[in-house]
Symmetry: C2
Subunit: 235 residues, 2 copies
């Protein structure tokens, strides 16, 4: 088997800087963690918030702190730093090679879409943003690291795509349709979701828009290399 | 223009865990930093060292600390933590959107290969590993963020590929040959270098082997999305 992870993101139309931040880190006992944060508002202010939260979560995960505790600490940190006046949505997705599971920790009104060999499920248990309530707890889901497991998470640029024109983006239906190709890679899937969201917004994203896809697929070739690839448009 | 960054790595033959660690982080003022660390020896021990060093450097860079200072601090930290008895080779490659430069900080006996529109240069100014000497300073090179700039760095699995059989891998010549295709992407270039190194080692890498490539290429399409893609073989 091989794990594929892909992120695709654009900022709100005519806003230079995305308020969404994604960071990844290797887990000290094996595996990877991805932290996706959507800071309140847009532009520079939102970026500073999402950066602060992502940095805190990543630094704890790098030290071996468990995902739930890292999410709680990131909340406490943001709450303390901004007197409970600034919110952020936080996702942590970890591939834990010790427990052989994918752990999803969610503090967002956007659902997570999770698929396995049997079908797709929408995880939308009520969950609140971090930073603004005295107490908070993340919604945590743990899945076996099995072939054809798919996790799709996204920020509200995807969730609210097309709302301006009275449309609704049913991401789960879209993903189910894409996954008719059982061997679809993570990057084409992330790109397709992003492209559809931007299309529903008529090419002018109404918010910062990010999609993260994690897929476990059968190993393609004999090559056992790990790869990381980044594409970053420059102005 | 667009920036492409690619990593390809394999561990030493018959060793489960690579002692090389790569981490990336978004720079708080704009841009990205990549930290590549080759820990002394191989396996779990080397991994713990490279992890420790990478984590320290990344956490400082995330807070806005300059690359040279982050490298020095990572050295001091390793030196203190292990009483000057454990070494690591450290590379930091940053894409700094404020100064519009690529900054390469090097503490390794492996050279950096740097190309621009005019040709390729090998940067092999003597530079020592971190962790073992009382004082150390990184060798820092700064390049303009211009089209067709290419940076290739690698750990000694590449540098010493084929040495067992009395061969020598002239990476600069190999890269120059690959770059006859001026629009070659970072990932195909990194993959080609890794494949050649493994081939020279007859398919059994004699050391942990990692290649990092940074390229600035003309923008391919109208799409302004940022992308991150990870491939991670699972046992």
């Amino acid at each position: 088997m091989e794990l594929q992870v892909a992120l695709a993101k654009v900022s709100k139309y005519a806003v230079h800087e995305s308020g969404d931040t994604l960071e990844m880190i290797e887990r000290p006992h094996g595996g990877l963690s991805f932290v996706l944060v959507d800071g309140q508002h847009t532009g520079r202010g939102a970026k500073q918030i999402s950066n602060l939260v992502a940095r805190k979560a990543i630094s704890l995960l790098a030290e071996g702190v468990r995902d739930g505790a890292a999410a709680r600490a990131a909340h406490d940190y943001l709450y303390t730093h901004h007197d409970g006046k600034v919110s952020a949505e936080l996702y942590i997705v970890s591939i834990d090679l010790v427990s052989e599971t994918i752990v999803i920790s969610r503090n967002s009104h956007c659902p997570a879409i999770i698929g396995d060999a049997k079908g797709l499920h929408v995880f939308d248990e009520p969950s609140s943003a971090i930073g603004v309530h005295r107490r908070m707890k993340p919604i945590i889901t743990e899945l076996p690291l099995a072939s054809h497991t798919t996790v799709v998470i996204f920020t509200d640029g995807v969730f609210d795509a097309g709302v301006r024109d009275g449309q609704h983006f049913d991401v789960a239906v879209f993903v189910a349709d894409q996954l008719r190709d059982a061997n679809l890679g993570a990057q084409p899937l992330a790109d397709a979701i992003l492209a559809r969201a931007v299309e529903l917004d008529r090419g002018r994203p109404s918010d910062d828009t990010s999609v993260l896809v994690v897929r476990v697929v059968p190993r393609a070739g004999g090559d056992s290399a790990r790869r990381l690839s980044v594409r970053f448009p420059l102005e």
